[in-house]
Amino acid sequence: MTKVAMTVNGKPVTGEVEGRTLLSSFLREGLGLTGTHVGCDTSQCGACVVHVDGVAVKSCTMLALEAEGAEVATIEGQAAPDGTLNTIQQAFQDHHGLQCGFCTPGMVMSAAALLKDNPKPTEAEIRHYLEGNLCRCTGYHNIVKAIMAASGQDVSVLAAE
């Protein structure tokens, strides 16, 4: 076991991990941050997306030890301390961008990474960016709509609405 230290949602944390411990496992089991979900074992589903030093990462694809010293952001740290949802989270609720909720943390974290680099993405850009995030409930319609809305675009006139 090796000691690892990082900052998660602004708080310094430490833990003892095996060399093979994934970042997702460290977050879930080591820190009890169970909002990060694991939906596959081939890095396809994206339910485990977190930000490491500001970059969206599938936390099942990174060893906990690789995050030594890093700034990690998870779904638990996205709302304001008083519980107010951030713009993306609120848009997901407003536009019914989630159903069972399992893929949702990864979707929100991916959307945040997208909007940081591309504040007003087109529908096509959003769909392309989300190729690493699977959702089985929504058919993606309301996820794409929510992200467009979160970026300040008018979604009331979407052709298929």
Binding site: R28, C45, E76, L98, Q99, G101, E131, C137, A160
Partner: protein, 792 residues
């Protein structure tokens, strides 16, 4: 498109935002894998890597000495544990009951599919359990794998189950008495269109893999199972009564937040029974978390029909008869509801939206060395709809008819309508949904869009189809006659608290459907109080009445009806209390906007005054009624409900590559009354996404030796955001159900049922528009298959 219902901001018909979203959006949901019990051990299942073989020995001598290993179980260690039961018995067309094989929790003398569990390794950590599994030595004498259904029925075929007479589970005829008349009608027809097709095997793949945690309290002798289930009461009954011999009062089953189900989390699985058993045997909690790879080889799969359908028409293009022959894959064992899916949930829907007078459905259910097949979103109804709507399209092309006009000509137009396949549609208006579809899909603009596609070098096609489904399963006395080993009522307990808030305990289970939001809308409307005064409790057998859970689009139609009935009892009693408080007659009391008033006067008392009086009964008619305000209702539906609609798909086919893209997708549904239009839209979107996935991408494939080739998200093509379009959906055509109090029909599966034929019809249309003589391509319509078809 404007949605007029959205103008209401509370109660029935309002697009209330989902309250459950807050926890899911902030990472504070409570899914089964988020639960950890103090002192828990972890189990890893060693699974067969061959499809069929005789299990000669399992050597655990090295593994059991490995670090952290608590105990290793094989079938020999499961004394007293029963097999996994089947919840439905089919009687075949000769009057014989189906062949029903044993389904042991851990493999005994044989392994029968890749993934069949052989040994369970319990250790202090998941990693130690997996390490030890690697050290177990198996001696398996491989046997020929039975994969192809028709070959499985050949004389002398290797048998999946040695103690059965063959690989035939049953040979079902429906309606058997119609068989000769149907044969004659087909002989006499002016035209017969024949189509052979495959309804491809699918994997449900809810994003949350299955998890089970068994716990045992030695002091009380109580067992608890936390599990990813759509129906915790069903699991408690099946596992308690048939597998482990634990009576219900000593067994609690908890299904907390569940990350999608789509059918695959209805069933009682061996892993649940093992964890519950092992927790007692070891006197500590035992947790299992499925990997996605395990899910592919242990979650029940869906569809997998091979069908020949014949549609007979008279000289005026009226449908006169339908005859089908289907081979339905059961897999290696019978999953909980497997025998019902290709029979009662498929055969009874073969009339579709049409007044075909004679129908005969034959289904041969076959055992193979593959994972068990059971209900997947739609469950039998997509299989019925697909073949029917494809053969109608083919008939229209053969006869040079407009496919929409041919459908309209044959629509059922008078209700109630008794089909020749044993069900009675209560309401519907198929012309109205088709008219609405034509509007929202802008079919008038199709020719211009096709021309624009042609300019871009693409072939554009239009596919239209209808669907009908049977939801709200179902009248218990009827399903009992049909072989169900369960009732299919549901339940609700409505508890009014002293200060006026309500807690509703329901037997339904929400795993994405939004019951915590939509169910309160109903009660808020009935009483005239804010929705946030109502809280829904579900998913725990310890605090909900016995109910059959959520599947088959039944929650609102069945459990919602129970909730309405219980609330009616509450209101009736509350009116008596109000009458006492206002010194008026019971019959004169009216309830509106949360106020009880005496008709014709301005005397009133508030809802909260009455509820407080019920629990602080100082001024109360104690001689007439009991204190308190809590009622339970069980609701057993009188009939299925029959949602129906019309769908349109426009595709572009790249003639160079065969790649199909969905350009437009439109759905006009009749769900009867709608409680929350936002949630209904979402249900349809998701169903369409899965239906397009089936039509274009998804395919569960076994090779000849029974190896699962599509065993991960690397190989099983799940639809992604850039595979799918925005959808135009509408549910403004509403013919309310006549036999449940809300007039609701159910919306959970429509999208998955209605969409595959629209996609395939559209691709065939695109290819025929280019002069290709292509009448059918089997799903999924991958670029390779489409390209090959285009080459003739």
């Amino acid at each position: 498109m404007p949605k007029d219902q959205d103008t209401k901001d509370s109660g029935i018909g309002a697009a209330s935002k989902r309250r459950e979203d807050i926890r899911f959006l902030t990472g504070t949901g409570n899914y089964t894998d988020d639960i950890n019990v103090n002192g828990q051990a972890y189990v890893h299942f060693l699974r067969s890597d061959v499809a069929h073989g005789r299990l000669k020995s399992v050597d655990t001598s090295v593994a059991k000495e490995m670090p952290g290993v608590v105990r290793i179980f094989t079938s020999a260690d499961l004394e007293g544990v029963g097999g996994i039961p089947t919840g439905w018995q089919i009687t075949d067309r000769f009057g014989e009951v189906m062949q029903e094989p044993a389904h042991p929790v851990l493999a005994t003398e044989k392994v029968r599919h890749v993934g069949d569990p052989i040994a369970a390794i319990v250790a202090e950590t998941p990693e130690q359990a997996r390490n030890a599994a690697e050290a177990i030595t198996l001696d398996i004498e491989e046997l020929p794998a039975v994969i192809d259904m028709k070959a499985a029925l050949n004389d002398g075929a290797t048998k999946v189950h040695d103690d059965l007479t063959s690989n035939l589970c049953f040979d079902w005829g429906f309606v058997e008495d119609n068989r000769e008349a149907v044969d004659q009608a087909i002989k006499d027809a002016a035209h017969v269109t024949t189509l052979e097709l495959v309804n491809n095997r699918l994997v449900a793949n809810p994003m949350e893999p299955r998890v089970a945690i068994g716990d045992f309290n030695r002091a009380t002798g109580d067992s608890t199972l936390y599990t990813t289930s759509q129906n915790p009461h069903v699991i408690r009954l099946l596992m308690g009564a048939f597998v482990l011999g634990i009576p219900e009062h000593k067994l609690r089953v908890v299904a907390p937040d569940v990350g999608g189900g789509f059918g695959s989390k209805i069933y009682h699985y061996a892993e649940e029974a093992f964890c519950t058993f092992a927790a007692k045997a070891l006197n500590r909690a035992v947790k299992w978390t499925s990997s996605r790879s395990e899910a592919f080889m242990s979650d029940a799969q869906g569809r997998d029909h091979v069908t020949k359908i014949e549609l007979a028409l008279d000289g005026d293009n009226n449908f006169t008869a339908i005859r089908t022959e289907t081979y339905s894959n059961m897999g290696a064992y019978l999953s909980t509801f497997a025998p019902a899916i290709p029979t009662w949930l498929h055969g009874t829907l073969m009339a579709g939206n049409y007044k075909t007078p004679l129908i005969y459905v034959n289904v041969k259910a076959v055992f193979t060395n593959t994972v068990a097949v059971d209900a997947y979103r739609g469950a039998g109804r997509p299989e019925a709809t697909y073949q029917l709507e494809r053969v109608i399209d083919k008939a229209a092309r053969e006869l040079g008819l407009d496919p929409i006009a041919l459908r309209r000509q044959n629509f059922v137009t008078e209700f109630p309508y008794a089909t020749p396949v044993a069900v009675e549609y209560d309401t519907g208006d198929y012309g109205a949904t088709m008219d609405k579809l034509i509007e929202i899909a802008d079919l008038a603009g199709f020719d211009a869009r096709r021309a624009a596609s042609a300019e871009a070098g693409k072939l554009r096609g239009l596919g239209v189809n209808c669907y009908i489904e049977a939801c709200g399963i179902a009248p218990s006395n009827l399903v009992g006659q049909l072989g169900a080993r369960a009732g299919l009522y549901d339940s609700a307990t409505v508890r009014v608290n002293a200060t006026g808030g309500l807690t509703v305990m329901t037997g339904a289970h929400s795993h994405g459907q939004g019951h915590e939001t939509s169910f309160p809308q109903v009660i808020a409307e009935m009483i005239g109080i804010p929705e946030d005064m109502v809280e829904i409790v579900h998913g725990d057998t310890a605090n909900t009445p016995m109910g059959m859970g959520t599947y088959g689009s039944r929650s609102l139609a069945v459990a919602g009806s129970a909730m309405v009935r219980a609330t009616e009892k509450i209101i009736s009693k509350a009116k008596k209390i109000a009458a006492h408080l206002m010194e008026a007659a019971d019959a004169d009391i009216e309830l509106k906007d949360g106020q009880f008033s005496v008709a014709g006067t301005d005397t009133s008392v508030a809802w909260g005054d009455v509820t407080l009086a019920a629990y602080v009964p100082h001024n109360y008619p104690l001689e007439e009624i009991e204190p308190g305000l809590e009622e339970t209702a069980f609701y057993d539906p009188a009939n299925f409900t029959y949602p129906a609609g019309a769908y349109a798909c426009e595709v572009e086919v790249d003639p160079e590559t065969g790649k199909v893209t969905i350009e437009r997708f439109s759905a006009a549904d009749d769900f009867g009354n709608v409680i929350n239009p936002m949630i209904v839209d979402g249900q349809v979107h998701g169903g369409i996404g899965q239906g397009i996935g089936q039509a274009l991408m998804e395919n569960c494939v076994y090779d000849d030796t029974g190896q699962l080739l599509s065993a991960s998200f690397m190989d099983y093509a799940m639809p992604r955001a850039d595979d799918l379009p925005f959808y135009a959906v509408d549910h403004s055509c509403q013919t309310p159900c006549t036999h449940n109090p809300l007039g609701v029909k159910g919306c959970g599966e429509a999208g998955a049922i209605g969409s595959p034929p629209a996609v395939v019809n559209a691709v065939v249309d695109a290819l025929q528009s280019a002069g290709k003589d292509v009448t059918h391509i089997d799903m999924p319509l991958s670029p390779a298959r489409v390209w090959a078809a285009m080459q003739g």
